[in-house]
Symmetry: C2
Subunit: 697 residues, 2 copies
């Protein structure tokens, strides 16, 4: 844990601040005091037992600074018990990953008595966030000082404060030292090595690291295709007949890489301890509203919203809206084809250089329009999904992803499908694909690399101005107060959604149509390499540090990519069926051609599903490790039960020989029993009964 760079310079006992809580600047004293007490109180009084301090004013505090910034930290013991609460998995001394428990803490690798380096800063921050989130109202009916901010027993206080905008934000602090090291190894040195995934996970958590892992995996998976594509492109530029081999290669490739990624992902998730980690019970989203009632699962009072209403909103409003948008997108596509036809007719009349350039203009305009429509639609989808009022964040995310994916897929690929299968013009398809791909890449790189760079420069300037104003510091490090305020002003990272979406569309371009434009894979590889750098840069320098997210896989995106690979199989077979090569072979009967294509497609589809069954999702050595853990816990339980069964029968015997015809049991001597007790206590893992006994009495 590299926290030495930060220390609170206000009065009071010092602690390492991990998380910042920012309240609105005009928050009432009463509210602040109440919240701070909640955070500081002992756990059995309903508090979080954390340490919290108000951030002192900046050095040059002439500006209208928000005074209500609070730094939250925790004692070492509190973090350990929190790690147990959130069910953190850590590497134990025998090399396997186990759920951390305070009772067995010395069985974990790297556990020194002082705990330095055992929990990463990201983990500590995640624990603190979890503890803050689970701060629950007891008997308050509203937030003190804010009558409109209703509370009920069991309601998460932080979520209520957030939804009523009394709390502006909670964010974890960056660690300048570690960030510097990370960004150096990540993107600053001239790199012939892989990304430092373990370091990324250490700093940003598993969700981020899995994204970068997937990005890297995807890039490497594209390399053989790119290598295969270049000679194709160079030597067969005008020979559209030869693409059958490429299409076959393509559809096997996209099946295999997704299966292998599952194994990669499982390996990573096991190494990072998230593979078998149990998910905590999910709380309602902050924005969720409804009539107060009792949750049938928890028995807690919370807002309930009838599922039927949500279904009605989804099927009567959202679905028609999505269909309308798809229709709109279709209309735009038709306009594009009109423009395309007009440009072509102009070129045919006057085939000069400028009319040649004009040929590309409609595609470029269309690509820009597509990107703009995707962006606008994204906001509409977010608004609609919010309005659907999903209870859980995961369900909200799934519905949002589904909406956005369907539209983006249609918007980006409809014109290509139209050209390929209705117009059946492979030259136009190639040209359209190239224009779409290149334009959207340029746009994306602008949004992701240039914009961040510009933001960073603006931030730098601001910082320099501040430093010039003060000029009282000798060292180059900013004081904590300045540093915290600087980070509070950084933009918030909105998760990996857009990054995955971009990869999804690129995967689509490659897997669907790259057989007619083999350079696509090369372009995507180039894009991905710059993507790594620009993403890394924006993570390190543009955004607030995000809370880590203990993901075990890439979630709904795995499904999305697999759906795309199924579509790719169908598309590639259709393209094969259309290829002149195959058509010559079946020159006598078109019917035979189609039937054979369909039969081959069904065969490959069946093979694909069998492959999915045959390739285990989790590598063998990890399966064995997981099974061993399972087995050990079963054995421990059995031992506990045997002991316990002994007690029960002993008790029954002692009480009476009540009823029944059983033969009196031969009871073992007391000495034997107590030996059994001891072995049972030392082997069964989560039973610190002896310790407890010592404490209770």
């Amino acid at each position: 844990m590299m926290l030495q760079g930060l220390s609170v310079d206000s009065s009071g006992p010092s602690f390492t601040p991990l998380v910042v809580v920012e309240l609105v600047s005009d928050a009432k004293e009463e509210t602040i005091g109440w919240l701070l007490n909640k955070i500081r109180d002992q756990q059995h009084d309903g508090g979080a037992e954390l340490l919290v301090e108000q951030l002192g004013p900046g050095v040059g505090a002439q500006e209208k600074e928000n005074p209500n910034l609070f730094l939250v930290g925790a004692t070492w013991q509190r973090l350990l018990s929190g790690a147990e609460d959130v069910g953190l998995f850590k590497e134990s001394t025998d090399g396997s990953m186990r759920a951390f428990t305070c009772a067995n803490k010395h069985n974990f690798k790297d556990f020194g008595g002082d705990g330095d380096g055992f929990l990463s800063m990201a983990e500590c921050q995640y624990i603190i966030k979890h503890e803050l989130d689970t701060l629950r109202a007891k008997d308050e009916t509203h937030v003190p000082g804010y009558k409109q901010a209703k509370l009920y027993p069991g309601k998460s206080i932080i979520r209520r404060l957030l939804s009523k905008r009394i709390l502006i934000q909670i964010f974890p602090l960056h660690d300048k030292e570690e960030l510097k090291r990370l960004s150096f190894s990540w993107y600053k040195k001239v790199k012939l090595s892989l990304q430092p995934l373990d370091d990324i996970r250490h700093y940003y958590g598993e969700g981020q690291a899995l994204y970068f892992g997937f990005l890297e995996y995807f890039t490497f998976a594209l390399v053989p295709m790119a290598l295969f594509g270049v000679p194709y492109y160079l030597f067969d530029w005008e020979d559209y007949d030869k693409y059958v081999v490429f299409a076959v290669f393509n559809l096997i490739w996209c099946t295999v890489i997704l299966e292998l990624w599952k194994r990669c992902s499982a390996s990573l998730a096991y190494r990072w301890g998230t593979l078998s980690r149990k998910k905590a019970f999910e709380e309602p989203r902050p924005g969720f509203h409804g009539v107060l009632g009792f949750n049938p699962v928890t028995g807690r009072e919370e807002p309930l919203y009838p599922n039927i209403k949500r279904q009605l909103r989804i099927y009567l409003v959202s679905l028609p809206f999505v269909l309308l948008c798809l229709y709109l997108s279709f209309c735009v596509m038709m306009v594009y084809f009109l423009m395309e036809g007009w440009a072509l007719s102009v070129y045919d009349q006057e085939p000069t250089f400028w009319t040649g350039v004009l040929l590309f203009i409609p595609s470029i305009i269309y690509a820009v329009v597509i990107e703009a429509m995707n962006l606008i639609y994204r906001y509409a989808a977010e608004f609609l999904t919010e309005w659907e009022n999903h209870r859980l964040e995961s369900s909200y995310q799934n519905h949002l992803v589904l909406k956005v994916l369907v539209f983006n897929f249609f918007n980006c690929f409809a014109s290509l499908f139209y050209i390929a299968f209705v117009v059946q013009d492979m030259v136009l398809l190639r040209q359209s694909l190239a224009t779409l791909l290149i334009t959207s890449q340029i746009l994306n790189q602008f949004m992701e690399a240039f914009l961040p760079y510009w933001l960073q420069r603006r931030r730098n300037k601001k910082m320099i101005r501040k430093v010039q104003k003060r000029r009282i510091l000798e060292d180059k490090e900013l004081p904590l107060a300045e540093q915290v305020r600087l980070e509070a002003d950084m933009s918030t990272y909105l998760g990996t959604f857009d990054d995955y979406l971009e990869l999804f569309l690129l995967f689509g371009y490659v897997s669907l149509f790259s057989c007619v434009y083999p350079l696509a894979a090369v372009l995507v590889v180039l894009n991905n390499v710059t993507e790594v750098y620009s993403d890394a840069f924006k993570m390190c320098h543009v955004f607030k540090r995000p809370f880590s997210d203990p993901a075990a896989n890439i979630g709904v995106w795995q499904l999305a990519f697999e759906a795309m690979s199924v579509i790719a199989v169908v598309t590639n077979f259709a393209l094969i069926g259309l290829s002149p090569q195959v058509k010559t072979y079946f020159s006598d009967s078109e019917t035979h051609l189609i039937l054979w294509t369909v039969a081959a497609e069904h065969g490959l589809m069946a093979f694909k599903f069998i492959l999915t069954f045959l390739i285990p999702d989790i590598p063998k050595h990890i399966q064995i490790k997981l099974a061993r853990l399972e087995f050990e816990s079963l054995e421990a339980l059995k031992k506990k039960r045997q002991l316990h069964g002994g007690i029960i029968s002993w008790k029954l015997r002692a009480e009476s020989g009540s009823g029944s015809t059983h033969r009196p049991l031969r009871t073992a001597g007391c000495a034997g029993d107590s030996v059994l007790c001891k072995t049972s206590f030392t082997t069964s893992s989560p039973l610190p009964c002896v310790v407890k006994t010592g404490f209770v009495q």
Copy 2:
């Protein structure tokens, strides 16, 4: 538990016998004594702590009776602790299903102090079987008296005795009283009601009950199709054009019923407590052999067999063998078509009544040959799968099911596919389907209803002879010794494999081709109704009682039926494409016809997969109950941890203020802590710490 009918009439304290263990008649005294001691010994001495008695000689013991029959029972407490060992789920007083623990036994419904009626006899027998199976060798190197029967620490004794044929069989006893009641309510009364599934489960266990549940569900699911089919058959007999509607109905039907069955099955499994029951760690099969080594999961010494060798056997021997069998089956099919052609030519030359009958002869012969080939192949498949040397019974079963399914599918349906899509003769298809279906049903009913009836009569005669010989009994009940010997001679029930296989093939006939022969559904319904009766009869009177099998679903068969439904979608669309109706519609272009058919098929397939996602596998109300259980255990764990965390920090504080900069925690008073302790002990479920403390000291 209705055990009053049985009581040991030998000397010694009486107990209710549940399970019979039969050793070979020339088993050595030494071995018997050792085994009995193992069974009787206390658990912490490595025994099973069960009650066991030798069965006395029969009344008229002049015959060469095997003296080595042993009755095993257990005390009531031992059964309860065994129920905890096997992880039995029981209904608790609040209506939800929970894992039974002795500590919380009074929280379970129907738990009287004397335990009558709490555990069913089938459950008791399952528990005893589990306890016998987990009797492990300690330091013996071989079975006493049998040098060739090697043992090693941790080897299951019973499995070794079985594999060395020293132990002939272990089987649970029937309960005459309950069996009489069950068979009356099941199949003896004229029935307008459903099968008594709960009673079946109570007597035979969950695996059996799920089979009968599925059989019933499948029959009811066929009723609408049968109702739809009869008018079709009656009014459109010669109008082959009209089958398109039926095909569409067919393919929607087979998609929906399988999805709904999953929900039904989950409901049943929840009610019976097997849905969330954890599987115990699987032991190697009795027949598994290999070089002694250490299991990487358990760390126990056991035979290991390299996976690569098994894979080689599978891919280099089994796979070619299966392919060879398929080729053989194909040849037989071709011979059938030759015969068919010859019969047709004879009929064409002389169209008399007898040559008309001759037309059906090839189909009938073919159907009989198919059944015979299936039977022979079945033995070959069992031999091969045994030889593949799978470590786990489940893996053995999966490989066997796969082999048998592929062959049976090909064998039964190849000719139909050939006629439908190569010959494209719908009249012949209809005729073949009818002959195949009816012949195989008659054969099956013979094997399943007549044969059992004949066996039963033979058994009855034997029984009467015995009774006549003795004539010393006044009551009609046989004495225990006779009863046990009678049951020991009954044939062993080999599981639900063949029953499911039969249903699978029937499902195939209906879902694949019933659109050309709508009466198929009616025939299958009739078959299923008689199937219920004959299966019930054979379960009650022909076979030894099987051990109950705590299944949560129909396992690999769900997958098999789903695969069949996918094939059904493709087949039905192909049939639609071939129908004259559709052909007339696309009379201008065959290409368009095929393309539209393929497009519609892909659409429906996509819809089918989306449906699989949309229909939750577990009904909402059960999901809520499961989530509540999960939530409660999480909460209990959290409480335990909070308490524990308190202790840890208390301990740390007591030890030293070692390292770091943390602020001393405000510690709560001791009184508060001990109150917390108490609540924690009463709420956290499996922690009878107070009891234990009392025992240890």
